[in-house]
């Protein structure tokens, strides 16, 4: 009697359909437009069924936040190669970060700040740890090749991430949705400045 297995599978199918429905709403109408009733309508189930799979609407969105950080890490890692010098890798990583943010704008906006409780986030999204670890080790390599090997890599990571996130969000908030030439210059300017200070 593989009944339980089948039920498990069916349940997972519904769960997936919830996520894909939510995702399509995000893509077409923006992340602020997702609603339980719209999702229920899309998956052709009644509203309370969704609550058998997710505790709340926020839990559904959190799923995309997690997925976002996974994808961001993978996207950056995919562009790195061991052949490059470590400070070149950092430059590549910075540009890949920027690239990801604008290629996945809705996701990026969901990943950061959008009305989610700030304090909880770090604990609810362990994927941030994995993302951070990757960049910390990257920066550690640059430090190892520099003349100040006792620099705090975690501190520098924090600075690096802050710069990148600042660039992206000021661009998204203040200027248009698609980056122009100036902002590309700003990006390079900021990254070069950081790397120069780090690599000594």
């Amino acid at each position: 009697m593989g009944v339980l297995e089948r039920k498990q599978r069916q349940k997972e199918e519904v769960r997936n359909s919830i996520l894909t429905a939510a995702w399509s709403i995000i893509q077409t109408e923006g992340w602020q437009a997702i609603s339980i009733r719209k999702i229920a309508d899309a998956i052709e189930y009644s509203v309370p069924v969704i609550y058998n799979h997710f505790e709340s609407k926020e839990a559904i969105m959190l799923e995309f936040v997690k997925e976002g950080f996974r994808q961001l890490r993978d996207h950056i890692q995919a562009q790195l190669s061991d052949e490059d010098r470590s400070c070149q890798q950092l430059e590549i990583a910075g540009k890949a970060y920027w690239q990801f943010a604008f290629a996945n704008q809705a996701t990026y906006q969901l990943m950061f700040g959008m009305g989610l409780p700030p304090c909880e986030r770090a604990r609810q999204v362990p994927e941030i740890q994995s993302f951070s670890a990757m960049l910390v080790s990257l920066i550690q390599k640059v430090i190892d090749h520099s003349k100040q090997p006792d620099t705090n890599a975690f501190l520098k990571f924090h600075t690096f991430w802050s710069i990148l996130h600042g660039l992206v969000s000021i661009q998204m908030i203040n200027r248009s949705a698609t980056p122009d030439e100036l902002s590309e210059l700003v990006l390079e300017d900021a990254i070069y400045g950081f790397i120069k200070a780090l690599a000594v």
Copy 2:
């Protein structure tokens, strides 16, 4: 017949009471908790009266965004003094920015990103222009005293602002609501790095 004047005054009083009611809700429950009905309840008027003074809920929030940028500019300007060297002034400005963000956390979160349409903002909030102009001129002074007087001050302003905003929002999102020692170090690290690269 000062009747019209009195009515004008009364109307403005109601407008002000709407803003102060909204403000007290923001302070006690956070900016996400403000609602038209709560405001109406607080000012002891019915709901539609609010729509005689503000076009929408968003318009009320935008008022605080504008006020926020005014205050931010004033807060920074108040800490500057002509006696300091220009690059020191930039350091002071950066720290004042950080200081303001955490002293007025709800306002800062309202000023940036919180679900407001990104593209419109620049046009709807001319106060950003004034804020930007102040920092641009500050940076221009540093450039004038440096060995590369043809540096683009607006570009550098953009970088500077991005770094500051990034520092603040990564801190607010990822770590606790109150900045710790590490984040203070990150702040100084980032500011010094920027100024060093700028002042040559």
